[in-house]
């Protein structure tokens, strides 16, 4: 890749940065790169960063066909040149990369983004003081969460045990997130932007669920919740 043709992985495919120079030469080196790459490119989705290069529909169509012949799918064209963009649009190519997929986002930036919804981490042990769990999706703990432990989840937090540490559900701002525990007595409980500390325990521990109700953090006995639904 001495031609200055940089390839990097983005969420759903590969992004190739096309260098400056006469199009014929650049095209040849691009195809050569793909040929040299062998298995690496086979079946890949490729987006091209063209900067301000101006290309017509014929050039782009030719490139797409050449890549297709090598089992590479040209998927998007990025650039600032208006003629190039309209040509790409005519060919049905995307003009931006779009949102990376849920998996890719979890790996990179765990929390501050929208929720994938379905993903959950299962922690099958007791979290002791000093243990931290940060996860973009839901967190399920089978065991206790001791004082000094911390769970920060983009989604819900379910603790099959005693919850006594610090817990933050809906850390990305999801106000629908809930926290459930067999014994809900966290040092501090946060859902989205709301923070609360546990009140003094009255009576024996019972399963409870905490959630936001009209912007207020409330904890309700699981049994009540259950009955209301049954009625």
């Amino acid at each position: 890749m001495s031609s200055g043709l940089a390839v990097k992985g983005v969420g759903d495919g590969l992004l190739m940065h096309v260098p400056e120079g006469p199009w014929d030469e650049v095209l040849a080196s691009l195809l050569q790169t793909v040929d040299d790459g062998g298995e690496f490119f086979r079946g890949a989705r490729v987006a091209l960063q063209l900067d301000d290069r101006e290309l017509g529909a014929a050039d782009l169509g030719h490139l797409r066909d050449q890549l297709a012949g090598r089992e590479v799918n040209l998927w998007a064209v990025l650039g600032t040149s208006q003629p190039t963009r309209s040509a790409a649009a005519d060919l049905g190519l995307a003009l931006e990369l779009g949102r990376p997929s849920a998996q890719a986002r979890e790996a990179d930036e765990p929390i501050d983004t929208e929720l994938p919804g379905e993903h959950a981490a299962l922690v099958h042990r007791t979290l002791r003081s000093g243990n931290h769990i940060h996860y973009a999706g839901h967190v399920v703990v089978v065991g206790d969460v001791n004082p000094g432990a911390e769970i920060i989840a983009g989604g819900d937090v379910i603790v099959w045990g005693r919850l006594r540490g610090v817990v933050h559900a809906g850390a990305g701002g999801n106000e629908e997130a809930v926290v459930c525990a067999l014994d809900l007595a966290p040092t501090q409980l946060r859902i989205a932007g709301q923070i609360a500390v546990s009140p003094e325990r009255r009576g024996a521990a019972q399963p409870e669920m905490a959630r936001l109700k009209d912007g207020q953090l409330v904890a309700e006995k699981w049994i009540d919740e259950h009955r209301r639904k049954a009625d």
Partner: protein, 268 residues
């Protein structure tokens, strides 16, 4: 002989690691085991002071590890018990002078000549702690009935578990039964509720320990000391004996017990 290595650690400082190490060492040696205590608190040694052996130190742990003396030369023989030895910590160096591998090797060299190797861990969770638990077959976590000490013990248990050691055992030290009874102090049950590990001993607060520690003569040697009895029980449990836990309520001694036996009929 193949020694078992036990590390006494806590996370928090001042809960009684060194006192416990000295007392357990004496208790095990009194029971006929060959014991060596290693002071793992390099730079802040004091196990030698508690054992009353300070004035006999010539070589220390770092001298052994760096090859300036033979292992045998650094073993200080106890002045009372024939089968008790100490390897003191260096006073002039810090924890970085020793690596966990060094400790594993040192303890391996000691295993053939002893029944028990007791390692006194420094406070904290850094290098010194890692050095101390590296060779351990058994980790004894010591805590006081205080929320902060229990919190640190919990952290330490997590770290020990992460090292894939066998589950540590718990010693609750400096329990004041009358305060527990009034609800002013965490009870052993409260502590076990959080830490969820096996209990190996409960040591009552005992002024005799402070006196004995300052005199360099561990409380275990005092047959009347309640704390000394608790440490002797721990030593027996370490060797697999099933010793029932003594009820601490009987602190008021023989007459207290009599009066309690008499009292139930009346107002209580």
């Amino acid at each position: 002989m193949t020694a078992k290595a036990a590390t006494i650690t806590s996370g928090k400082g001042g809960v009684g690691k060194t006192t416990a190490t000295a007392n357990l060492g004496v208790a095990l040696a009194s029971a006929g085991y060959r014991v060596v205590c290693i002071d793992g608190d390099i730079g802040l040694r004091n196990l030698d002071v508690v054992m009353g052996l300070e004035n006999r130190i010539v070589y220390d742990l770092v001298d052994v590890i760096e090859g300036r003396c033979k292992l045998r030369q650094a073993l200080i023989k106890d002045k009372r018990l024939a089968d008790l030895y100490l390897i003191p910590a260096a006073q002039t160096r810090d924890k970085t002078a020793v690596s966990p591998q060094d400790m594993v090797k040192l303890v391996k060299d000691l295993r053939t000549d002893f029944d028990w190797v007791l390692i006194d861990s420094p406070a904290g969770i850094e290098r010194g702690f890692r050095n101390a638990i590296a060779p351990a077959d058994l980790v004894l976590i010591i805590t006081n009935p205080e929320v902060s000490a229990v919190r640190d013990a919990d952290r330490i248990i997590g770290l020990v578990e992460a090292e894939e050691k066998s589950p540590p055992k718990l010693i609750v030290n400096r329990v004041k039964p009358e305060m527990v009874k009034r609800g002013d102090m965490l009870s052993t049950v409260d502590i076990l509720d959080v830490l969820a590990i096996d209990l190996i001993g409960v040591v009552p607060e005992d002024d005799a320990v402070t006196v004995a520690t300052n005199q360099g003569s561990p409380a275990v040697l005092d047959a009347r000391s309640r704390a000394g009895k608790a440490f002797r029980d721990i030593a027996r449990r370490m060797n697999g004996e099933d010793v029932p836990f003594e009820s601490l309520e009987s602190k008021d001694g023989f007459f207290g017990r009599i009066s309690r036996i008499v009292r139930p009929g009346g107002a209580s």
